[in-house]
């Protein structure tokens, strides 16, 4: 990592030259609008991976696309250069750019199912990648070159695979095909935009291994864009942390993750859940300011506990300190304090002995089929009073189906379910109102779980009116008290969901569930659509509220790292069957089942 001031000519003789150098890049909205990213400078050597880390809205994807000489519609590069082997990509004409893209710079998008053409066979798409740049080779059979490329990304290189269409491949295979296309022309630089988001942990692990070996093997410089610090720490030698359009801290991964100096980096690290530690997660309150609302000073100052007046007055210049560059006036003090800013490991209080009280929810022999396909078979589950049970599993394990059976969105399941001793009807339509009230659900995606045409006040009042029969006059008062429970003020009453951030939306969804005064809260992947710092805030909120209100909770998640932060009990699902169940620490220790042990081994961990 070099600063913009570090001139290329001053480079030491023995280090290999940089493949990619970005200097002082600034991208604006429109030609005179507010800057979306500014002052971006970094460099990557052949064979190295740079992790570009930031939460949504930080501008990381905007920077990633600029590395290919591309800006999204309505954005334009105002200053700066992107040099690939010395050639400035931003000065190239469209024809020149086309020559470079795919051949010398390639891109792996986040969602391979959207990036591959669904109407063309895999073989044709791979061949196209080679043919466009005339790399099929005159002396070699193009087919054999394609098979070779596929072998490099560990796909079974059979002609059968080449005849398939993208939808006939799994998510992991699709991403491997996208990787194969990106590496096919032996590029100098590869830009990876969160390529493992949405993949299961074991698939993610394999993809990361493939990327690492290909970059080393072919001396490709890589920029890996991600919001996931744990993933980046597994792969990247250097890390640049972005916040509100600027790089706030950048340097060797080991240094940055072990001794972060910028308060934002520290907050981000404390927000990352760990599979091996329990205890509270410290989120970062507040939210990232959008372009145009970033103020004159350090954009992080409003959320920073250490901010002083000078911080708010002007943007801190990048300074080299303790082996990395950091944009923070207070970094020198943080450096001398030299404490590792990791949260203390304090596990969730384990339930003392076997739960004496009868369970709030008891499930026996639950099975569910989609047509002839069994989705769940023979599920037994107990949620003790005031306890939290985490249900973990990979995609397709049936965990969301289980949640839907419990809340009553599926009606054709078999087996027995009792809520506080009383049997539950299969479908919500057949459950009386007092029973509906007892089980409340928070859904995965806060962008679809709130009606966009209703205000927060109306949304939270709905259960009061329908489930509790509270008279209309008392609604506002009770809505405000519930909103305060989830740390939202009365100012939110008249806002619409599209005026809220993802974390705020999810808190409204939680408030709606709490308003019904349930006995059991079912949380279905409630944090998977949120940034890691927001995830930490929401998890802490759920935990505190559940304790205060004596709620029992069923926490469905694919993220094993979250389990010990929130739950005392864990259930591992695979192919619709329970692999293992018991106290969370015992299950996650991985001694009971080889499947759980493998899952735990594949979870990306912060390396510091």
């Amino acid at each position: 990592m070099r600063q913009a001031e570090g001139q290329a000519g001053e480079r030491a003789e023995d280090t290999p030259p940089f493949r990619l150098e970005v200097r002082d890049l600034e991208i604006r909205s429109g030609s005179h609008g507010p800057p979306v990213v500014s002052g971006i400078s970094f460099a990557v050597r052949p064979g190295d991976v740079l992790g570009l880390v930031g939460e949504s809205g930080s501008g990381k994807t905007t920077v990633a696309l600029a590395l290919l000489g591309h800006t999204r519609r309505g954005l334009s590069v105002s200053t700066g250069e992107v040099r690939l082997d010395g050639m400035d990509l931003l000065r190239l004409r469209p024809a020149g750019l086309r020559q470079v893209r795919g051949a010398r710079v390639s891109y792996v998008p986040q969602d391979p199912s959207a990036a591959l053409n669904p109407a063309l066979r895999i073989g044709y798409q791979l061949q196209e990648a080679l043919r466009v740049h005339g790399r099929t080779g005159q002396d070699r059979n193009p087919q054999s070159r394609i098979l070779e490329v596929l072998r490099e990304v560990s796909l079974a290189a059979t002609p059968d695979l080449l005849r398939r269409y993208p939808h006939q491949l799994s998510g992991g295979q699709q991403q491997r095909v996208a990787l194969a296309m990106a590496f096919a022309c032996r590029p100098s630089l590869i830009v990876l935009d969160e390529p493992t988001t949405g993949l299961d942990v074991s698939t993610q692990r394999h993809i990361l291994d493939t990327i690492r070996s290909l970059c080393r093997g072919y001396a490709v410089a890589a920029v890996y864009v991600s919001h996931d610090l744990a993933v980046v720490s597994e792969l990247a030698a250097e890390v640049a942390v972005m916040y509100a359009g600027r790089i706030v801290e950048a340097g060797p991964a080991a240094l940055l993750l072990h001794r972060p100096l910028h308060p934002y980096t520290r907050g981000l690290l404390a927000s990352v859940p760990g599979p091996d530690r329990g205890g509270p997660l410290a989120g970062i309150p507040g939210q990232q300011p959008p372009p145009g609302h970033r103020g004159p000073g350090c954009a992080f100052a409003p959320r920073c506990g250490l901010a002083l007046d000078p911080c708010r007055a002007r943007v801190p210049e990048p300074a080299v300190l303790a082996g990395r560059t950091v944009r923070c006036l207070r970094a020198p003090e943080a450096d001398s304090a030299a404490g590792t800013a990791r949260s203390v490991s304090r596990p969730v209080a384990p339930a003392a002995g076997p739960p004496p009280a009868p369970p709030v929810l008891s499930v026996r022999g639950l099975s569910f089929n989609y047509g002839p396909v069994p989705v769940l078979s023979g599920i037994d589950l107990d949620v003790p009073p005031r306890g939290c049970v985490a249900v973990v599993g990979e995609s397709g394990s049936g965990k969301t189906t289980l949640a839907r059976c419990i809340v009553g969105l599926h009606r054709s399941w078999t087996g027995e379910m009792t809520l506080q001793g009383a049997p539950l009807a299969p479908s919500a339509r057949h459950r009386p109102v007092p029973v509906l009230r007892q089980i409340q659900c928070v859904f995965q995606n806060p962008y679809t779980s709130l009606n966009p045409r209703k205000t927060v006040g109306q949304i939270v009042a709905e259960p009061l009116q329908r489930l509790l029969g509270v008279p209309r006059g008392e609604h506002t008062e009770r809505v405000i008290s519930v909103l305060e429970d989830v740390a939202l003020s009365r100012r939110y009453l008249h806002r619409y969901p599209d005026q809220l951030s993802g974390g705020e939306r999810q808190r409204v969804a939680i408030a709606r569930a709490l308003a019904a005064e349930p006995a059991l809260l079912v949380c279905d992947e409630v944090t998977s659509a949120l940034d890691v710092s927001v995830q930490a805030v929401v998890i802490e909120l759920l935990r505190a509220t559940a304790a205060r209100r004596h709620l029992a909770m069923l926490f469905i998640t694919h993220n094993l790292a979250l389990v010990r932060h929130v739950a005392q009990f864990a259930v591992v699902l695979r192919h619709g069957q329970i692999v293992e169940a018991g106290p969370a620490e015992q299950v996650l220790a991985g001694t009971g089942s080889s499947y759980t042990a493998q899952l735990m081994a594949d979870v990306p961990r912060l390396r510091s």
């Binding site: 519609r73 659900c441 779980s449 806002r495």
Partner: protein, 303 residues
């Protein structure tokens, strides 16, 4: 973005107002509003300012325009200007009534089919397919020739023939929305299906509803005028634009205005409503949003 006065509050609640508001500020929308507004003004204010009785025989058949009769006379020697001014309001009223009827019936069928799924879906959509198999005008003529040309029947026939197409559009729009989690939440709060459809789903359908209503209004006008031309409309002495075209086409060479003016008014009205509908649809979908604005929105809301 977060500071909301009471005025913006009302606009947010009724998003269609906002779409219409921004639509009329585009050239396309302003032009559409101008054309349609002009014709509506003629039809509404016309009866109040008409110089003569529309049914009185005042001069020679197909008399040329003169100072007393600026648009000349029709085939019976009645004042064309007065007949034009009187002959629009009923057509407009019937077209609007048929549109409201057709969109309401179609929306109810389409939303129910999509939300209830299963057997109801099959029943509703197969009925729709059967009705769609008849050409719209032929279906209306069939009904009218069996039951006789009554005005309410014309409205009913035109409205009902709109319903299937509206039902199809709203069914597909609803399919998407009824899968969203907020609908599931409403079900889990014990809401009855009818309440879920009207309270939770309907507000999100304002865009397709607006566009369909505009489109169907244009078709209604064309079909109503066409039926009047064919003799299914108001009974003879009373004036109507569609009827006038038919009555006076024999004298096209003698006094063209008796045909041209009603035809022109119908054309301007349909062009106007069409342009306005198009502009509203584009505004609601954000097609014409400035690129800078669009990119910023993407940046702020990645989901």
């Amino acid at each position: 973005m977060t500071a909301d006065g009471p005025a913006t509050e009302r606009i947010r609640r009724h998003q269609w107002l906002a779409s219409v508001g921004s639509a009329v500020r585009t050239p396309r929308g302003a032009m559409g509003l101008g054309l349609a507004g002009f014709v509506v003004a003629v039809a509404v204010i016309g009866p109040l300012v008409a110089p003569d009785s529309p049914t009185a025989l005042l001069t020679f058949p197909f008399g040329k325009p003169s100072g007393q009769f600026p648009l000349g006379a029709d085939f019976l020697g009645r004042d064309v200007l007065s007949r034009v001014l009187e002959g629009g309001w009923l057509l407009l009223l019937m077209a609007v009534a048929a549109t409201v009827l057709g969109v309401a019936a179609g929306a109810a069928a389409g939303i129910s089919a999509a939300y209830l799924r299963g057997r109801s879906d099959g029943l509703i959509m197969r009925t729709v397919d059967v009705i769609l198999a008849f050409p719209q005008l032929v279906f209306a003529l069939l009904l009218l020739s069996i039951l006789g040309p009554r005005l309410w029947l014309i409205v009913l026939a035109v409205g009902l023939t709109h319903a299937p197409a509206v039902a199809r559009v709203l069914r597909s729009a609803t399919l998407d929305i009824s899968e969203r989690d907020f609908v599931k939440v409403a079900e889990l709060q014990g809401m009855r299906p009818a309440t879920v459809m009207t309270r939770e789903i309907l507000p999100s359908l304002s865009t397709p509803l607006m566009v369909e209503a505009g489109l169907r209004l244009t078709y209604s006008i064309i079909i109503m005028a066409g039926l009047a031309f064919l003799g299914f409309g108001q009974p003879p002495p009373s004036p109507s634009w569609g009827t006038m075209i038919n009555e006076n086409r024999a004298g096209l060479a003698l006094n063209p205005w008796a045909v041209v003016i009603p035809a022109l008014l119908i054309a301007l009205l349909t062009i106007g409503t069409n342009l306005l509908t198009d502009a509203v649809g584009r505004a609601a979908l954000g097609v014409d949003r400035r690129p800078g604005e669009a990119a910023l929105m993407d940046d702020l809301d990645p989901a």
